[in-house]
Every structure is written in C-alpha cells, then in structure tokens.
C-alpha cells in the first residue's frame, strides 16, 4: 500500500506576475523513485526550489510526512529530512571532498559553540562517528580515495557524485535531485542508475528532475509531467508515456508516434 511522503496541493509560485508554478498538485510515495519531467521552462526546478525552501510558495500547500512545510526556511526543511542536489552543482569548492560530506552531516550533530571551546567526549565521539560515516558515503559513491582532494578539482561526474554523498550525509527521508545525469555519457549514466537504486534500497525516497528519457523510463516508479507550471499527467511510467497530452507537450502537436517509440 503506497503511502505518500510528499504532497503538493495547489502550489503557486510567481515571479513578478509570471506564474512559474501554477496550481500544481503532485504526490510522491514513500520509498519510490519519482521523476519530474517536462519541457524546458515548465517549472520543474522552481518546484524543487519551493519544496526545499529556497523559494517561498505564494499559495498552496506542501506536506512532508503529513506536516505542512511550505513556509519553512530551507535549513529547517533540511533538518526535517529533505536534502537535495543542484542543477548547476553547488559544492563548497575550496573545501576538501571529505569536508563537503561532513558539512552535509551538520544537522545530525549536536556540538554548539560552547562545546567547541574545550575538548569533550561528546564532541569527540560525534566527530569520530561523523567522519566514519562520511568515509563510508564516499566509498558508497566511489570517491573513497579522493577524500582529501579539493572539491573544485574533481572531474564533473565525480562532482555530481560528491553532491549526492553530501546530501545523503544528513540521512534524509527524501532526496531531491536536479538533473543528476546532466552532461554524463551513457557509461556514467548507467553507473548513476545503479547508484540511485542503491540509494533507494537504503530507504531513501527519490524525486528527480531529468531530461534523459532513457534514464527516466528505466528507473522511475512513477512520473509527474509538468507543462506551464502545472501537471498534465501523473502515474506509472508506461501509462504516462502513452498519454496524448504528454506527447503534445513535448512534440508540440498530436502525433501518432508516441514518444515511447522514440526509445
């Protein structure tokens, strides 16, 4: 029985008169891999930004595990269990790979300013555990030997993995991925697919924006299709790909060749 982990109802986000997200409804179920697709400019990244708290919604509701989160600031939303990666990769460039992941773990640690002043067992234990967790995550994404390297010197594909490791360090329930496969060749994309399955197997629900339709069709349990800021279809991958509205949105006009045939 599928239970929703994230529910958007009537979500509206405007920028100076333009409705980037227009009365959007969307449901993501717990434990699934859910893709958010649509033509360029359909509001996908904006939706992710609203969910993660980078933007405030103008109207509508975002419920995470039943709690309303739409007016919460980004850092609180991360504490609640939603973390993310970014379309344009936002690593901490001059810090090491390990430090990037450690920062991801920030919300799971408890040391405050006063506790840093004197060495104490709580902080020591916490730091130790955090470091081990970070090394484990780096191994999980295949960056174990790059821990002390500056993040900015990583190859592009490795930077994307690092972003994922960092986002996982907080032990989120829901992970948002904004075009994780962008700029990857087929080999890298396959590796990414394997990685994403492993993330899902760890109990993390995935919501990803992607343009690579092969990836989307292969990996998604359910898909939401956006156009002009509102959803035009939502459901299992196969049925969505046959949906005439979806085909129109992508190809600009009704056609017999559904885009399932373009694979």
């Amino acid at each position: 029985m599928a239970t929703p982990i994230l529910e958007l109802r009537g979500l509206i986000k405007t920028f100076g008169g333009v409705k980037a997200v227009n009365a959007l409804d969307m449901t993501v179920n717990d434990g699934e891999i859910h893709a958010l697709i649509g033509p360029n400019g359909s509001g996908k990244t904006t939706t992710l930004n609203v969910i993660s708290g980078i933007y405030r919604a103008n109207e509508g509701s975002v419920k995470f595990r039943g709690d309303e989160i739409s007016q919460l600031p980004a850092h609180t939303i991360a504490q609640r269990g939603i973390t993310r990666t970014f379309q344009n990769i936002r690593l901490f460039p001059r810090l090491t790979v390990l430090d990037n992941v450690l920062i991801g773990r920030h919300t799971r640690l408890r040391t405050n300013f006063w506790m840093t002043l004197a060495p104490n067992p709580i902080t020591a234990l916490e730091e130790d555990t955090a470091r081990r967790n970070a090394h484990d995550l780096l191994a999980f994404v295949g960056l174990a030997d790059r821990a002390q390297v500056r993040a900015s010197s990583l190859a592009y594909g490795d930077q994307r993995r690092l972003e994922i490791a960092r986002a996982l360090a907080a032990e989120p329930a829901l992970l948002l991925l904004d075009e994780p496969a962008a700029g990857m060749n087929p080999t890298e994309t396959d590796a990414l697919v394997k990685l994403l399955y492993q993330v899902r197997d760890r109990g993390v629900t995935l919501l990803l924006i992607e343009h690579d339709m092969n990836l989307v069709m292969a990996i998604s349990d359910r898909i939401t299709v956006l156009n002009f800021g509102t959803h035009i279809a939502e459901g299992a991958a196969a049925e969505v790909s046959q949906n005439p509205d979806v085909i129109t949105a992508y190809l600009g006009g009704p056609l017999d060749a559904g885009f399932a045939q373009t694979r």
């Binding site: 993660s52 600031p73 991360a78 970014f86 690593l91 460039p93 920062i103 986002a167």
Partner: protein, 327 residues
C-alpha cells in the same frame, strides 16, 4: 608530539622570551601593540576569512571594548582583570544587537552598513562627553596588578598581551576545526547550498559577527590598559580599513595569516620610518604590490613554497564581476 607540534611549541616558548632579549622600550611597545592588533585581526578573520562576511566596523568594536573597559576601571573602579573581559562582553553584546538585522544583508550592502555603524560609533565617542570625555579622551587608566606588582611597563605587559593572544588563537583554532567552523566555511563557499544542508546561515553569520566583536572588544580593553590613555581618533573607519588590509595581506582564511598580517603591518611602518615622511606613502604602495603578487596572502605564499601543504583558500574572492552574494 609530532614534528609540527614540536616546532610550534619551540616557537611559542621563544616568543615568550622576547622581553628578556629585547630591551628597547620602543620595540617592545610596537611588539605589544602588534600582539593586541593580532587579536583584532583574528576576530575579523573569523568573520571575513572563515565566514566570508565583510565588516568595516572592527575598529568600532575595538573602541567599544577600550571605552567600556576604561570607563569601568576609572569611574567604577573595577580591576582591569575584570574590566578588560567586560570590554569584550560589551562589544559582543552590541555585536549581537547590531549583527542580527545587518547580517540579512550581503556583500557590499553589509559592508556599507558596517561602515555607517562604525562612523556613528566614533561620533558617539566624540560627542557623548559625559560618558567618554569627548575628544579629550580618557586618561589615568590603571594598569593591571599581579599582587603588588603593577604591570605597567612594556616588558611586563607583553605577557598580558601574549597570554590573551594565545587564548584567542586557541579559541579561533578550536572553532575552526569544529562543526561550527565547517558551517562558517560552508556559508562562505556557497550560502544557498549551506542552507540546503541544514545550516541556519543567519544564525551562524551573527555568531561569527559576535565573535569578531568580542575579539575586537577584548583587544580594545587590552590596549586601553596598556597605553592608559584613549581618545576617539584611534577608532576610525581608517583604522577598520587597516585591520582589513592586515587580514588580507596576511592571508585571510587562516589564523596564522591573521596574526602574521597584523604583526607585519604593525612593524612595517616602523621599519620604514627612517625614510621619514614618505614612509606611509611607501606603505600604501607596498600594500598594492603585496596584493598583486601575493594572491593568497603571505601565508598562501609560504604554503606554496612548502610543497607538503596545500595553499589555503583566501577570503571570498570569486572571480566574478560583482560583489553580490554567491547566488
């Protein structure tokens, strides 16, 4: 103890012997001043170097610590051992009050707000005569005592300043290598990503600001009880600028850089004094040259020459066209 630790320990002990080796009052005065300025610059380093937030009000907090401490020990008769920390706390409290609204701004807006704040504070020092004695300043500030020994020479005060500096370095070091320090650096590197990882950026920026104010205020209290006379002239925007230059030249992302910059740029004008009137001019030219040829400050340069260390990140200097926050 590893080799690096041993080197550091030897250096610390060697420095502690300075007053026994150096007898010139003049050199000791400059040294004591340099140590105290180093504390100010460490504070600025936490705010600008670690967290990437610009402040040009560091001299204002330096002044607030000086005045609070001086007034407490002259008018209220407190012992300097109490009034100096009081100066730090007072500056920190003002920092918290001012920091919270200001740190929602970023980049040059924040810099401007701190400039404005600093100028207003100096004007208060000049005009609130009943409290601060106005342009005439406050004199007869008592020195601290150890039992019956008055620490009123540059030799003896060296240890007060040196001790305070060591404590400051310790605190800054512990903060840097903690979850707090990582949060600071995350904010500097990419504030939006930091927020997305659960870091409450405003909270940490205010914390950094309060720490910078506290260090500035502590240094202010120390200088008041060393020179035993303070006046508003010393706590100007120009002085804030000098602290900034010290930090950047030394290497803003590290504590070593802050201390090095402060010491170097306190001594440099004195070395140039034989050039008589032109010395400050040459100082200005030297600053320009140093910025051109040492992009990551002195510390960065040294670390490049020692291959085993990676050069540390310098202060927020994205090669972009605008001062605007990394969006």
């Amino acid at each position: 103890m590893n080799r690096r630790g041993a080197v550091v320990a030897v250096l610390l002990v060697a420095c502690a012997l300075v007053p026994f080796v150096v007898h010139s009052q003049y050199v000791l005065q400059v040294t004591d001043t340099a140590l105290i300025y180093a504390i100010v610059v460490i504070g600025l380093g936490i705010l600008l170097g670690f967290t990437g937030q610009m402040s040009l009000a560091q001299a204002a907090f330096f002044g607030m610590g000086a005045y609070a401490s001086a007034i407490a020990s002259t008018t209220l008769g407190w012992s300097p051992w109490i009034s100096i920390p009081f100066g730090a706390l007072f500056a920190a409290a003002i920092g918290a009050a001012v920091g919270y609204p200001c740190l929602r701004l970023s980049g040059h807006y924040l810099a401007l707000a701190t400039i404005g704040f600093g100028i207003i504070v100096q004007l208060v020092f000049i005009n609130a005569r009943s409290l601060t004695n106005g342009p005439d300043g406050i004199n007869s500030i008592p020195p601290p005592h150890l039992g019956s020994l008055a620490l009123d020479t540059y030799q003896t005060y060296f240890y007060v300043a040196y001790g305070a500096l060591l404590i400051s370095v310790y605190i800054a070091w512990r903060v840097k290598h903690s979850r707090i320090g990582r949060a600071f650096e995350a904010i500097r590197e990419n504030e939006i990503a930091a927020q997305a990882m659960g870091i409450n950026a405003t909270h940490y920026k205010v914390l950094a600001f309060v720490l910078a104010s506290a260090f500035g205020g502590l240094a202010g209290g120390l200088i008041a009880h060393m020179t035993r006379f303070i006046s508003p002239d010393s706590y100007s925007f120009d002085q804030s600028v000098i602290f900034l230059v010290m930090l950047v030249i030394g290497g803003s992302a590290t504590i070593t850089g802050a201390v090095t910059g402060a010491i170097l740029l306190t001594f440099l004008p004195e070395f140039l004094r034989p050039l008589k009137d032109s010395y400050i001019m040459i100082y200005g030219a030297a600053v320009v040259l140093m910025v051109i040829f040492m992009p990551e400050g002195i510390v960065g340069l040294v670390r490049r020459l020692i291959p085993s260390y990676q050069a540390p990140p310098a202060a927020p200097m994205h090669a972009t066209n605008s001062i605007a926050d990394s969006a």
